[in-house]
């Protein structure tokens, strides 16, 4: 080990989220030492009484509300300063000087250079159809474009950031504090110094806390010290260094197990983590994969633009020896290739999606999470709370070898029944929220897990549990842990004035601690016979999908445990054996409404839904069946039908089943390859009785089978799996803070149906981004080809730079954005999830956009161009190789009829043809947006229900009309009015495009040609 104190485990699952103190290097050490120096206030040395004085608080009753309010005003909220700093400026800079923008800046500067030199050299010479004023004008328009789209993009991105940062505000962590002597749940930011806080497993330490009392309290301090081993806390001071002393717990550290009570000694910036946070502001956030993909794509496009541009520059320069016109070609190619509006469009699409998801109760921490959710191929879902209501309610009570219904109150006076009720009322961690005490019991909020809440609620309604609990106070407690699977409390009984130990837990576990059984007559010894009978009853209950909790007790003899005896739950100085079994309570957690529909939808979408639960296999199976994750018979069903043990099911029958339940015990015996084999063999699997480690193991194995795994979970024990999963989904209502921290996404309503919506949304976003890019790239071809014709065939220029800009940042912008509003394709949930190798922009998309659809647009444009010329007497043959005469101001050009055209006249014809070309591109871009609406299903089925898109089409047309007919636009954009029928010249090409694409989709949809799908499905 390189360093004795800061031992780091290489097998750490969580991993140090922040670099450890040591990792900051020697430069920071002095600073850190200084910080450490300041914290040597010695809180950890003080006794409870001293702490009360120092922090003017009371350990029993806490601060008064008024004083707490005062402190909050004085010291401010308990929150870290946001590390954003000047990131608004960063976004702004990014939007104005990104890759695209730099290309455009270069374009603008080239224009100004051209203007400067053109006016210097000579005004009247051949400048390739652009007078010097036009250079200046174009340069200004380009700059306006950059600034316009930049500011708009900045606005959108800032808005986006607000949506994302809203995440913290929406799901604020809460803390339990004692104020005015009552427990209260307050938002973490309202915790003040001196508050008495209660912490339990699953939460996060709300501030720097000096622990006063605790039981089995463990926190993960890896974020602070880099040490991944859990720290077991104790109320005593164990080290002079507060960071090492076991009685200090620090802000932001996840609590893994146990519970504790403590006094807050530092908040917000003054906490240890707050101080370190100040040192790591320089850390940049990493780009998400989708952002990376977009950046990569932009660089590629810019690169292509420049390569083409420079090639043309050199080519034209060597042919014409005129660097000004060569520069013009270069500009044209670059402007045509750079989709100026794309960045803005993408940002808008993202923002829209984030908003949509939020509406659907899915809160993604990053937009990329949504996208990943869309490609999910396997969901490992927790049962409780996700698939079920998480409203446990007691359904049966079991005692005296009989099962009673919850509404059967005729046995209340039976000794075993009443002792079961007593035990159930006492052995509870759950409490009612103080503020709700005046509400009816059904509506009161309860602090505690689902099954405890169910018991508390049931007992409160039927047996006035609160009173019982007040009368028989809890003296000691071993909270429930998944490691030993029981919970023990010791009470001072009012009736007998002696201590009473109650153990609660999974019945087959606690029965192993028992040697006797309570019955109505007397205590009986627990013979194997009785044990078997009891177990049969448990299974009977469990087969109904119910969770069974067993109770056993032990009256601690007064002689050995006199009043005032100090119970130590760490040392366990009391017996945990030779207990007497009382009975059991079974609860049911009904599946959520319509859950089976959601799961059927997932199956349809090619997504495996795997239930992973800590429950009994039989319970798990019952719920799986109800939810629809298991639809086929399993070995269990065979065993029940034939009244044999599961182990006795013959192997040849076992191997026929397509569904199975794998328990934690079985899993323990399996190797990675065994599990892989099982996961491939069985189409439906439910994992039962699994531990957190096993959940992780399951997730990892699925990932090694090339699945994109989503994991849902709510507990601390789920967090490793949540982290490991491709996308971790935490529950917003019931989830612990730790699980929320580990997750990538939070379901605000804890509903599995939201995951399905999220998947749909994720697939939709990906599809829509693809559509948007395909749409935007298409118009590059008709924008670039005119320059090729101009340079290679010497034709009068079919499209000016100005009109290219009008298309790119004018008419193209709205339809591209409107594609983000496109509904998911109807069958988006009936196709298998996308492969992780399927990129946003792939070769097929590029080829489709540039060489197929783009070329149709080019032909449509050329058609309009030729026709306008032909109407004025210039047939196509008279337009080839005329460039030098055409651009000369003194030369006369003859048309096909032999008429002589002067410069101004033929320039007007040229403008008219350019306008016609522009209008054609507008028209065919409309048909392009229509074919981009759907990638797979028929347009007839899809319909034109996206009204944003419809409106954008109308606006697009209006823009084309305005650009063509408004005198002001003739001035600015150099257009000429067209006769009305020339305005519709591109319509046949629109029809061709739409019909052609409909045929292509038909071929793909009906699997007629795999080749077509492979080459044209983007």
């Amino acid at each position: 080990m390189p360093h004795p104190t800061y031992r780091r485990s290489s097998t750490s699952l969580v991993g140090p989220r922040r670099p450890s103190l040591l990792a900051h290097g020697s430069v920071d050490i002095s600073e850190l030492n200084l910080l450490k120096e300041e914290t040597h206030t010695g809180d950890h040395f003080l006794t409870a009484a001293q702490l009360e004085t120092v922090y003017r608080t009371n350990i029993q009753t806490g601060l008064t509300d008024n004083f707490a309010k005062e402190l909050l005003v004085t010291y401010g909220p308990n929150a870290l300063k946001e590390l954003r700093g000047n990131s608004y400026w960063k976004i702004f800079r990014h939007n104005l000087f990104g890759w695209f923008q730099c290309v455009l800046w270069v374009g603008a500067i080239l224009n100004f250079i051209a203007f400067f030199f053109a006016s210097k050299i000579d005004a009247g010479s051949d400048s390739g159809g652009h007078s010097d004023k036009e250079y200046l004008y174009l340069g200004c328009v380009i700059i306006a474009t950059i600034v316009g789209t930049g500011v708009f993009g900045f606005y959108q991105e800032a808005k986006n950031m607000a949506v994302m940062s809203g995440f913290e505000k929406l799901v604020p962590p809460n803390a339990v504090v004692i104020r005015n002597g009552v427990k209260k749940i307050i938002p973490n930011i309202n915790v003040v110094i001196g508050d008495i806080v209660e912490m339990t497993g699953g939460e996060v330490v709300p501030a720097d806390v000096r622990i006063l009392s605790c039981s089995n309290f463990k926190t993960d301090m890896s974020s602070l010290t880099g040490e991944s081993e859990l720290v077991q806390h104790r109320p005593e001071c164990t080290h002079a260094n507060p960071l090492e002393s076991k009685n200090m717990a620090y802000f932001g550290c996840p609590i893994v197990e146990g519970s504790a009570k403590g006094v807050v000694v530092a908040i917000g910036e003054m906490t240890q983590i707050g101080k370190i946070a100040g040192l790591v502001t320089g850390l940049e956030k990493e780009e998400t994969p989708i952002a990376k993909e977009i950046t990569h794509f932009i660089k590629l496009i810019c690169g292509v633009a420049f390569v083409f541009g420079i090639t043309f520059f050199l080519m034209v320069y060597f042919i014409q020896k005129h660097w000004l016109s060569a520069l013009q070609y270069m500009l044209g190619i670059i402007l045509a290739n750079v989709p100026e509006g794309l960045i803005v469009t993408l940002t808008v699409c993202m923002t829209l999606s984030a908003k949509q998801l939020k509406k659907k109760n899915c809160l993604a921490k990053t937009l990329q999470a949504v996208e990943t959710l869309g490609s999910t191929s396997c969901i490992c879902s927790d049962k409780t709370g996700t698939l079920t209501e998480n409203q446990m309610s007691v359904s049966h009570l079991f005692c005296d070898f009989k099962i009673y219904d919850k509404s059967d109150h005729s046995h209340v006076s039976d000794p075993s029944y009443s002792s079961l009720c007593l035990a159930a009322s006492l052995n509870l961690k759950a409490v009612f929220v103080y503020d709700n005490m005046n509400l009816p019991v059904e509506k009161r909020k309860i602090l505690g897990d689902a099954s405890e809440s169910a018991i508390l609620r049931y007992m409160e309604i039927n047996r006035s549990a609160t009173q019982t609990r007040e009368e028989n106070p809890k003296e000691a407690e071993i909270p429930f842990s998944s490691a030993y699977k029981y919970q023990v409390t010791i009470h001072l009984m009012q009736a007998t004035q002696s201590y009473y130990l109650i153990m609660k837990g999974a019945p087959e576990i606690i029965i192993e601690y028992c040697t006797r059984v309570h019955s109505d007559e007397k205590e009986q010894p627990l013979t194997p016979q009785i044990k078997k009978e009891l177990k049969a009853n448990f299974i009977k209950l469990a087969n109904m999908g119910e969770r069974v909790i067993g109770y056993c007790d032990l009256k601690l003899p007064l002689s050995a445990y006199p009043i005032g005896y100090k119970f130590d739950t760490q040392q366990k100085n009391f017996p945990l054996e030779d207990l007497a079994f009382i009975g059991a309570i079974s609860m049911i957690d009904p599946p959520r409404q319509d859950i089976e529909k959601s799961i059927a939808l997932c199956r349809q979408a090619g997504i495996k839904v795997i239930m992973v639960t800590g429950d009994h296999p039989v319970t798990a199976l019952a719920i799986s069946r109800k939810c629809g994750t298991i639809t086929q018979p399993t070995a269990y069903d065979y065993a029940f039908e034939h009244h044999i043990e599961l182990a006795d099911v013959p192997p040849h029958i076992k191997s026929q089943f397509k569904a199975t339940v794998i328990t934690g015990d079985e899993l323990r015996k399996m190797s990675v390859n065994d599990l892989k084999a099982a996961q491939t063999k069985y189409t439906e699997i439910t994992f039962a009785r699994t531990s957190p480690q096993q959940k992780l193991f399951i997730v990892e194995t699925y990932q090694s089978l090339k699945h994109v795994v989503a994991v849902t979970g709510d507990g601390v024990n789920d967090s490793p799996a949540l982290k490991k999963a491709d996308i971790g989904i935490a529950m917003g209502i019931n989830g612990t803070e730790v699980s929320k921290q580990a997750a990538d996404m939070i379901l605000l309503d804890d509903n599995f149906a939201s995951i399905v919506l999220g998947i749909k949304e994720g697939r939709r976003i990906f599809d829509n981004l693809k559509k948007t890019i395909a749409y935007t790239l298409t118009s590059n071809t008709p924008e670039m080809m005119p320059f090729v014709l101009y340079a290679c065939l010497g034709m009068p220029l079919p499209l000016t730079l100005m009109l290219i800009l009008v298309i790119n940042v004018g008419t193209d912008l709205l339809p591209a954005m409107s594609l983000a509003y496109e509904d998911p394709e109807e069958d988006v949930m009936s196709i298998p999830p996308r492969k992780p190798t399927d990129h946003l922009v792939n070769r097929v998309l590029i080829f489709m956009a540039y060489f197929q659809v783009g070329l149709i647009q080019f032909f449509a444009g050329m058609y309009a161009y030729f026709i306008v010329y032909a109407q004025d007497g210039f047939f196509p043959s008279s337009l080839i190789f005329v460039r030098s005469e055409w651009e000369s101001k003194t030369k006369v050009v003859k048309d096909t009829l032999g008429r002589a055209w002067y410069y101004d006249d033929r320039k007007r014809v040229e403008k008219k043809a350019q306008t016609a070309y522009f209008v054609s591109v507008c028209w065919t871009q409309i048909s392009d947006v229509i074919i981009c609406k759907t990638r797979r299903i028929s347009l007839l089925k899809k319909g034109m229900r996206n009204h944003v898109l419809n409106v954008s089409i109308v606006i697009d047309l209006i823009a084309a009309v305005v650009a063509t007919y408004l005198p002001f636009c003739h001035e600015v954009f150099n257009t000429e009015p067209l006769s009305w029928h020339d305005f519709f010249l591109a319509v046949p090409f629109m029809v061709l495009m739409i019909v052609g694409d409909e045929i292509r989709r038909y071929l793909i949809r009906n699997n007629i040609s795999k080749w077509v799908e492979q080459e044209t499905y983007y």
Binding site: G124, S125, D126, R843, F851, Q852, L855, I856, F859, M862, Y863, F866, I867, A870, Q871, D872, G873, F875, S884, E885, S888, K889, T890, K891, V892, D895, T896, L897, G898, R899, A900, W901, Y902, D904, D905, R908, V909, K912, P988, F989, L992, W1011, E1015
Partner: protein, 323 residues
């Protein structure tokens, strides 16, 4: 050894981490799969065939659409005529010989009268221009439609459907090819022609009424002379020096064969063999060694003069050297 390799084969080996250059090389040619630029030979053939068919179909569609549209167009007649067209109904004047195209912006006719080469250069330009006027009768290399040309006079009757009026350039003495257009005699001929406008019919000044005030006096008197006669139906032409010095230097001017374009040449309807009427302007004795700015104008009631847009007029410079 054999066992060992067997075992090793069972495990999946991740693809080796290739360098950029290596990856590019494999992209260029992958010897394992026979892929060239990411595709196998058959794949390339398929995709190329696809694009071939696709583009062929597209070009076919394009051609078909153009063909359909051209059905609505008359190849001899523009769709937009006169005021509906961009070229308008106001013809411009053109002059020949034009300076060569190397110097596109120049309108200067400069030569040395005693330099044979210089004279021949300009004569050749005019020869080329008059080529289409010269070819008549039968024989190889004829301009099509030459047989339609018939001699016309102001008094001759209406033309046949196919007939067009001839321009008898051989009668333009001394501005004939044989005489090298009089360039050697330091009195160069410059040919003027009115630009063709489809279906345009001139409204000539055929009497002394409504003559514009800026019309040169000599032209006015000429019109007075022919007023009332059929010869008066002519688009008149006048050439003058632009500045007082030019007026002085220009010397006497002769218009051959007559002082304008007779209206029997109009309207132009793109009949086969149609020739634009010409006027040869003979500058008899321009002052040598100086540059003379000359502006020629065409006069008719429906020709409007605009020097900047060059409507109804033409500007050129003449400089004759004798050294």
């Amino acid at each position: 050894m054999a066992d060992k390799t067997k075992v090793a084969e069972q495990y999946y080996a991740p693809p080796p981490d290739l360098g950029k250059w290596e990856a590019f090389r494999i992209f260029l040619y992958n010897s394992e799969t026979g892929q060239f630029l990411g595709r196998t030979g058959s794949s390339w053939a398929k995709i190329l065939l696809f694009y071939l068919i696709f583009y062929a179909a597209l070009v076919g569609f394009f051609a078909a659409m153009l063909a359909i549209f051209y059905q609505t167009l008359d190849a001899k007649m523009p769709k937009w005529q006169l005021d509906g067209s961009i070229i308008g109904s106001n013809p411009g004047l053109g002059f020949r010989p034009m300076p060569d195209s190397a110097n596109v912006e120049s309108t200067l006719i400069y030569y040395k009268a005693n330099d044979k080469g210089s004279v021949l250069k300009w004569a050749k330009v005019i020869d080329e221009f008059l080529e289409q006027y010269r070819k008549k009768g039968s024989g190889s290399g004829e301009a099509s439609g030459a047989e339609n040309r018939v001699p016309c006079s102001p008094t001759s009757g209406a033309l046949g459907e196919k007939q067009v009026c001839d321009v008898p350039i051989d009668e333009f003495h001394p501005c004939t090819a044989a005489n090298q257009y009089n360039y050697e005699a330091a009195g160069p001929c410059v040919f003027l022609k009115l630009n063709k406008i489809f279906n345009w019919q001139p409204k000539p000044y055929n009497n002394t009424e409504d003559l514009p005030g800026n019309m040169p006096e000599d032209l006015k008197s000429h019109i007075k002379m022919v007023s009332g006669k059929p010869e008066a139906n002519t688009v008149w032409v006048s050439c003058e020096g632009e500045n007082p010095a030019d007026v002085e230097n220009i010397g006497p001017v002769q218009y051959i064969p007559r002082r304008g374009f007779p209206s029997y040449y109009y309207p132009f309807t793109n009949k086969e063999g149609y020739l634009s009427p010409l006027v040869a302007v003979l500058f008899e004795k321009p002052r040598t060694g100086v540059l003379i700015n000359i502006e020629c104008k065409a006069w008719a009631k429906n020709i409007f003069y605009d020097r900047y847009e060059r409507r109804g007029s033409v500007h050129f410079e003449l400089m004759v050297d004798r050294s």
